[in-house]
Each structure stands twice: as structure tokens, then as C-alpha cells.
């Protein structure tokens, strides 16, 4: 996969790998770049992955994935995503970091035999923006609570080579 650098217009190869113990320590110390408390996901059943450029070891984005087995939701849940501070908003350095992380979740869902289904429960106020940023998601409203949305299927994602 490739990340687009806004200043130069160039694309740079990036990789996604599982977080190591050392990475968690780095992220914990780097409070200026990451706001979530990622350390508490270190020992949980979910898996935390990092995205970085191939040529550096600077973490640019993080994703926490939870696998739901075939007998239950039969999908990969995106529990959390965070892009580093310098890559958010108007002056961001690299684009499409979260998009690459979401595509990676889709790939994991295929590889782990969940049919490409990815689940996340977005904040209601963000739902339409996820749809704008990542394409027309199949969503439906929870009948029990009108303000809660689910994103049951995200099968459009084909990670770039």
C-alpha cells in the first residue's frame, strides 16, 4: 500500500504490522501524537496493528481489531483507529492513513474466513462523514434505539497492492 505525501505529491510504500511491546511504550510516551490510551489494549483479546512507512519506523496510525467467530458475528470489528497528530486535519503530511487501516481490516476479514465483513459502531455524528470518506457503506438503524447505527458490511475494501 502507498501513502500520498501532500507537500511533494509523491507516494511512499507503507506497511502494517502487529504492535510490539516496545511500540506500545513508544506510543505511550508520545502523548502529543496519540490521544487514545493504547496501552490498555496491549493485553486484551484484540490485536493492535501499526502503520508506518517502509523506510522509517515512525508510527503514523494505529488500529485495534477484534475477531468475532463464525458462530457469533462472523466478522472483524474495528474497535479503534487513530491517526497521528501530524497527519490529521488541514495541514496533514500524509493522506489516507485511516483508509489503508480500514482496507487492512477488510483483508484480515477475508483471510480469516469472515467473508470480508467488517463491523464498527461509529458515533452517530460521524456516520455520514465515514460514508463520505470511505464510500457508500451499507448501514442500517438499530430498531431499538433510533440514534444508534451499525456498519455491518464493508465489503468494498480491496487493499491496494
Amino acid at each position: 500500500m502507498f501513502l500520498h505525501e501532500y507537500v511533494t505529491g509523491k507516494c511512499h510504500p507503507a506497511i502494517i504490522e502487529l504492535m510490539t511491546k516496545k511500540d506500545f511504550d513508544v506510543v505511550k510516551r508520545d502523548k502529543g501524537r496519540f490521544k487514545f490510551d493504547w496501552h490498555k489494549y496491549k493485553l486484551q483479546i484484540c490485536e493492535v496493528y501499526k502503520l508506518q512507512l517502509k523506510r522509517t519506523n515512525i508510527i503514523l496510525g494505529l488500529i485495534c481489531l477484534t475477531e468475532h467467530c463464525k458462530e457469533t458475528a462472523d466478522a472483524i470489528e474495528i474497535s479503534l483507529i487513530e491517526v497521528s497528530a501530524e497527519n490529521r486535519g488541514k495541514g496533514k503530511q500524509y493522506g489516507n492513513i485511516a483508509g489503508c487501516l480500514i482496507a487492512f481490516a477488510c483483508q484480515q476479514s477475508i483471510e480469516k474466513d469472515h467473508g470480508g465483513y467488517v463491523l464498527l459502531a461509529p458515533k452517530t455524528r460521524l456516520l455520514k462523514h465515514y460514508q463520505t470518506a470511505y464510500g457508500p457503506l451499507y448501514t442500517y438503524q438499530n430498531r431499538r434505539k433510533a440514534t444508534r447505527y451499525h456498519v455491518p458490511g464493508w465489503r468494498r475494501g480491496r487493499p491496494s497492492d
Partner: protein, 188 residues
């Protein structure tokens, strides 16, 4: 807030809204979903949805998933340095045909190849020709490009070359005035 205590996700969300638009937040964050009974209800509903989706999946949708899975397997295998002698070109071609739910004969007809030739390739008695590889690319609508198949062959060939001790020893007597140092030994 007490020093050292981490902010709640709602607090972080509120703080982010001072700095970024909602669109920018969605481009950079996914917040955790509901917890407790609400999460249980959400998962139960999703499980029902998923069950229904599985039951109503079209054959084309199933094929897309199966082929994507195979392509990821090939890419993953090519990315790793490790060699698995069972994961050769013929293995992945057999998988491709199996996932199409076709017989070898039907598939050979689809790509206009002699069934006997396909059989020899699948049984590793003959190397696939460029013609076959390009036809695989065309058949797969470029979802499995020729380069992907060539890389599989290349990896297989590299493995065979590194293990053919008999041939290496046979060729040794033809080589004179070679390099006397070895990078392997120098690095020790």
C-alpha cells in the same frame, strides 16, 4: 481532571471538535462502540444480520470472496522469505480452478489449452508456458496478473536451484579462478 488519569473517549471527542471538523475527525479516528448490555444488543443484531447475509449470498459474491482470499494467499506467500515446497505454481493454479468449481477439462476449454498440457502442468511434469500464464491473466480479468504467476515460478525456481546439490557439484569442475572469499564466512 486528576494528573495521570486518561481522558474518557467522550472527552477526547469533545476536545477534538475544538480543533477539527467532524469530517476531519472521521478521517482520522474510530471511537469505541457502546459497552455493556448495549454492546450485547448490537452484536446480537449484527449476528442476525450476518446470518441472513450468509444465507442470501449470491454465487458471484461467494466467488469474489474466494478469489480475493486466494489472491491474498499468493501475495502473502510471495512476501515472505520462507519457502514452502507445497506452495508451488501448480498448487495455486489447482486452487484457482477448484474455487471456480470447474473440472480441469472445462477450465482447459475455457482458456483454449490442451487438457493434457494442463494436466502436466498441474502435476508438475511440465513448466507452464508464457502463453498459459497470459491466458490466466486474461481469464481472471487481470485479478491474477501474469506477474503474480511469474513471481510464483521464480520463487519455485530459486528454491529448486538452491537445493540441487548434485548439479552444483557437477558444474563445480567447469569453473576456474573464482572468488576466494565468501560473504557468509566474512560476516562470522
Amino acid at each position: 481532571m486528576k494528573k495521570g488519569k486518561s481522558k474518557s473517549y467522550d472527552e477526547i471527542f469533545e476536545a477534538l471538535q475544538q480543533e477539527y471538523t467532524l469530517e476531519e475527525i472521521a478521517e482520522s479516528f474510530v471511537f469505541p462502540g457502546p459497552q455493556g448490555p448495549e454492546r450485547e444488543a448490537m452484536l446480537a443484531e449484527f449476528t442476525a444480520f450476518r446470518k441472513h447475509a450468509r444465507a442470501t449470498e449470491t454465487p458471484e459474491e461467494k466467488l469474489i470472496v474466494r478469489m480475493l482470499e486466494l489472491r491474498f494467499q499468493v501475495q502473502h506467500y510471495l512476501k515472505t522469505d520462507a519457502v514452502d515446497e507445497h506452495l508451488h505454481f501448480a498448487h495455486f493454479l489447482k486452487e484457482y480452478i477448484t474455487r471456480l468449481a470447474k473440472t480441469n477439462k472445462d477450465f482447459a476449454a475455457d482458456i483454449d489449452i490442451d487438457p493434457a498440457e494442463l494436466s502436466l502442468v498441474l502435476n508438475r511434469r511440465r513448466q507452464p508456458t508464457d502463453k498459459l500464464i497470459y491466458r490466466l491473466q486474461i481469464h481472471s480479468n487481470e485479478n491474477f496478473p501474469a506477474v503474480l504467476w511469474f513471481k510464483l515460478l521464480e520463487k519455485e525456481r530459486a528454491y529448486e536451484l538452491s537445493r540441487n546439490k548434485e548439479l552444483i557439484d557437477k558444474e563445480r569442475k567447469h569453473v576456474k579462478k573464482g572468488l576466494t572469499f565468501s560473504f557468509k564466512k566474512l560476516s562470522k
